[in-house]
């Protein structure tokens, strides 16, 4: 199971790949909606990349429901913790 730090790097990397930013620009408090005006296709692409990187099914609500990148990492951490 990845540590929260490892998970955070995977998430921030997936986001920065889709948004064309540097990883450092994606912080815990970043809001993809407010700061980047992200659309649903971009969110789904981020989700698809995370599913591949983490070998994990990700519910769309985990992405759309997150208030910030940090919140999304927390939700994912809870999911991965539930894995066998």
């Amino acid at each position: 199971m990845p540590t929260r730090e490892e998970l955070a790097l995977v998430v921030r990397t997936a986001i920065s790949d889709v948004l064309g930013t540097e990883v450092e620009e994606v912080r815990e408090q970043t809001s993809l909606l407010v700061d980047y005006g992200i659309d649903s296709l971009e969110l789904m692409e981020i989700g698809a990349r995370l599913e591949r990187a983490l070998a994990l099914r990700i519910a769309v609500e985990d992405l759309t429901g997150a208030q910030s990148v940090g919140h999304a990492i927390d939700l994912l951490e809870a999911r991965t913790a539930g894995q066998p």
């Binding site: 790949d17 296709l41 692409e45 698809a48």
Partner: protein, 420 residues
């Protein structure tokens, strides 16, 4: 009757249509002046493309757009969602729109986007098929918006908020000419006040190149790429694939003049017809193409004698060049003006060609110079048409007829008139 109130009126009704901005991303140069200089030098831009050699395709050569700073035009975020066909169009359009400096007061629904593409998103769909055909569940989420045929036009409309008619024309190799002509019609007859019009294609891909090669439509002069594209020459053996985009900003003449815009000239006439003869071969006597040329000249309110030179489609295939020479001969009743064909330099940009050539033709018509045809030494069609060979021909500034003919028997002709 003349004066400021009638200057904007087309002699055959409706409004005159001004060209107030031009942008190109083409093998001959990434600006219209560079492309103009390049075609006057009549040196081919064709070269061996390494990946075509690696893939063991029968044709190894193409005319590619020289590298430029894409980041200056497209954010990395947007670049991940679009293909090269769309990127080249957005870059050419950005240059054209910047140059035109359209006034901020234009109503968004009076500005349209009219784009031609012959191949559209097929190369990017081909890439997805090769990369994800065995793993369809992992396909990129943006596959549909990246590959759909109207992607380029709609990305362009989005970028500037142009909310008027946004249309994508697919008329094979005539697509760019069709788009410029249809855009001009929409302004002339009152549907739009301005339009961003042009064409784009970027299809130097394995499947597209392989498919054209299977028809033996392309030159296989792999050892001498710079000699491969030779419109109307006795030793031609097919066209050379190019890529690129060209965009013209068109405006109602009176509005452009009132705001003091730089006016390159006018899209004065347009016509399109279909051979309805064969799915790829032109009707060999050029009868329908000749009628298309005559109709375009008449649509401009001119007669064939008013045309200073012809920018031929001139692909460097025997079937096209021979039929086109016959068509030009028919149109001009045995007294054709000088004929040039810039594909000897640029290669065939498919959907991009018509728009690039309209822009070049307008500059040549205004400056009274007709580029020589690259690689043309002697032509079996020389008894039908006055082909410009060797050095640029000086002529009086005048209207130009620009031809495009496409697979499917698509004929499209524009008449471009310099500002007088």
């Amino acid at each position: 009757m003349s004066g400021p109130h009638t200057q904007g009126a087309h002699p055959l009704g409706g409004r005159r249509v001004a060209v107030t901005g031009i942008g190109v991303k083409s093998p001959a140069g990434n600006g219209i002046e560079e492309a103009f200089t390049s075609v006057l030098k009549a040196r081919s831009t064709a070269a061996v493309v390494g990946r075509l050699v690696d893939q063991d395709l029968p044709v190894h050569i193409a005319c590619l757009v020289p590298p430029f700073d894409l980041d200056a035009y497209v954010t990395r975020r947007e670049a991940r969602q679009i293909d090269r066909t769309t990127a080249l169009l957005l870059c050419a359009a950005a240059d054209a729109v910047t140059e035109a400096a359209l006034p901020p007061g234009l109503a968004p629904d009076r500005v349209g986007v009219q784009i031609g593409t012959g191949i559209g998103g097929l190369p990017s769909m081909e890439a997805v098929t090769l990369s994800h055909g065995e793993r369809p569940r992992e396909m990129p989420v943006h596959t549909v918006p990246r590959t759909m045929a109207n992607s380029a036009a709609c990305r362009l409309a989005m970028r500037y908020g142009f909310q008027g008619s946004c249309t994508t024309y697919s008329a094979a190799c005539a697509s760019g000419t069709t788009a410029v002509g249809e855009a001009a019609r929409r302004i002339r007859y009152g549907q739009l006040d301005a339009a961003v019009a042009g064409g784009t294609d970027s299809a130097v891909s394995t499947v597209v190149m392989g498919a054209f090669a299977r028809m033996r439509a392309m030159s296989a002069r792999n050892a001498d790429p710079e000699l491969a594209s030779r419109p109307f020459d006795a030793d031609r053996d097919g066209f050379v694939m190019g890529e690129g985009a060209a965009v013209l900003v068109l405006e109602r003449w009176d509005l452009a003049q009132a705001r003091g815009a730089r006016i390159y000239g006018e899209v004065a006439g347009y016509a399109d017809t279909c051979d309805a003869f064969h799915i790829v071969a032109p009707q060999e006597e050029g009868e329908v193409a000749a009628r298309c040329m005559r109709a375009a000249v008449a649509d401009a309110g001119l007669t064939p004698a008013d045309i200073g030179h012809v920018n031929a489609h001139g692909t460097s295939t025997v079937l096209n060049d021979r039929a086109e020479a016959r068509a030009i001969d028919r149109c001009f009743g045995g007294q054709p003006p000088p004929v040039t064909a810039v594909k000897g330099v640029t290669g065939h940009l498919i959907g991009g060609s018509g728009a690039l050539e309209a822009a070049l033709a307008l500059l040549c018509g205004a400056r009274g110079v007709v580029p020589p045809i690259a690689n043309l030494v002697s032509s079996p069609e020389a008894d039908l048409v006055d082909l410009v060979i060797g050095t640029p021909r000086t002529v009086a500034p005048a209207a130009v007829l620009s031809n495009s003919f496409g697979f499917g028997g698509q004929n499209a002709c524009l008449v471009l008139t310099p500002e007088q």
